[in-house]
């Protein structure tokens, strides 16, 4: 076993030391005087251990009551969880009952009306502007460039159609 210098000092007198032990002790105690000094010091320190007063009996009594309380508390804890869960359920159920719509058997309750866009026949329809969006088609091969839709009045369109004899002939044929 690995002997520490303090182990040797506590266990042996100077004259009992072997050469190997003296070698271990060399850094701590170089001679007998120093060795005895340390040995005496450790003996006094050991004696001091016996000078400690006795602990009061009330400490143990208190701890025993705490042991019982601790166990009781641990056993009671799950019941608290169940109780809390029950209370939460009761509150939830009450809230649901209060907010539930009344039974239709006794009192006629008009269901909540959804907002529907009903057409009012009396109401005047919104005035549609006398404007049409017409995509001008390429009439001739020259007019190959794409042009943006132009806004034209019906009168202008009629004039255009009247000028275009081919188109006029087509319209007449269709009618």
């Amino acid at each position: 076993m690995d002997m520490q210098p303090d182990d040797i000092i506590q266990q042996k007198e100077w004259h009992q030391l072997t050469d190997a032990e003296k070698e271990i002790l060399q850094p701590v105690t170089a001679n007998r005087e120093e060795y005895d000094l340390l040995r005496n010091m450790l003996l006094v320190a050991m004696e001091e251990k016996d000078e400690v007063p006795t602990i009061d009996h009330s400490v143990e009594a208190f701890l025993q009551t705490q042991l019982k309380k601790n166990i009781r508390a641990r056993r009671i804890t799950p019941f608290w969880y169940y109780a809390a869960a029950s209370v939460a359920l009761v509150i939830l159920a009450t809230w649901l009952l209060i907010n539930k719509p009344a039974d239709s058997g006794k009192v006629a309750v008009v269901p909540s009306v959804e907002k529907v866009n009903v057409v009012d026949s009396i109401k005047q329809p919104a005035k549609i502007p006398d404007v049409a969006i017409v995509q001008s088609k390429p009439v001739t091969e020259q007019n190959t460039k794409k042009t943006a839709p132009q806004k034209k009045t019906w009168r202008e369109i009629n004039t255009i159609i009247a000028k275009d004899t081919m188109l006029m002939a087509l319209v007449t044929e269709v009618y």
Binding site: Q10, T29, D36, L37, N40, V44, A45, P53, L67
Partner: protein
């Protein structure tokens, strides 16, 4: 049904923790019987020989045992666990308390003993106690654990959470320091 006939005196410390966690008063009584006075003694020496404070700390320590008995890992040593907790509690107490500085100012000078050439045993004992009181918290803890609680180096290493090599070297320097402080008593041979 509680089995009153069970005696726990043959149980190992670690085995007692299970019944303690289940609230067996007899198991706790056995544990307290083994370590109550021992831990009180440790606290008493660590906390400036203040009996009331040592009792409070012992009580607090065993309350921790009661509360955490269920979580105790059985592969650990109970005594090491107990000393570790006690050591940390002392450290907290040192931080918390201003008593220490007050106590230090009250201490008498060790060198006074040297003035008298007729050094007697009583003075030597006083000087040793004074030297121990003068040690800083770390060294005092090491001194008490090693020379009064008689803990092994590996156990101290676990309690103080430092490597074994560090414990050994600290013990070496501690002995050297004590030897230097008590040098004036070298002529004294047998204190007992």
């Amino acid at each position: 049904m509680e089995m009153r006939s069970i005696t726990y005196n043959e149980y190992a410390d670690e085995q007692l923790l299970g019944p303690v966690a289940e609230g067996h008063a007899a198991a706790f009584a056995e544990l307290y019987h083994r370590y109550g006075q021992k831990m009180f003694s440790y606290f008493f020496r660590m906390l400036w020989k203040n009996k009331a404070l040592a009792e409070d700390q012992t009580q607090e320590l065993f309350l921790k045992v009661i509360r955490h008995a269920k979580k105790f890992e059985t592969d650990r040593s109970f005594s090491t666990w107990l000393y570790s907790m006690a050591h940390n509690m002392c450290k907290n107490e040192y931080r918390r308390s201003a008593i220490r500085s007050k106590y230090r100012s009250m201490k008498h000078d060790t060198n006074l003993a040297a003035q008298d050439k007729q050094i007697d045993l009583r003075k030597f004992k006083e000087a040793v106690h004074a030297c121990m009181d003068e040690l800083n918290d770390e060294k005092r803890s090491l001194f008490i654990l090693r020379f009064q609680e008689q803990l092994s180096v590996p156990d101290i290493s676990r309690v103080l959470n430092i490597p074994e090599g560090t414990v050994k070297s600290r013990l070496f320097y501690l002995l050297k320091e004590m030897k230097e402080k008590l040098k004036q008593f070298q002529t004294l041979h047998n204190p007992s």
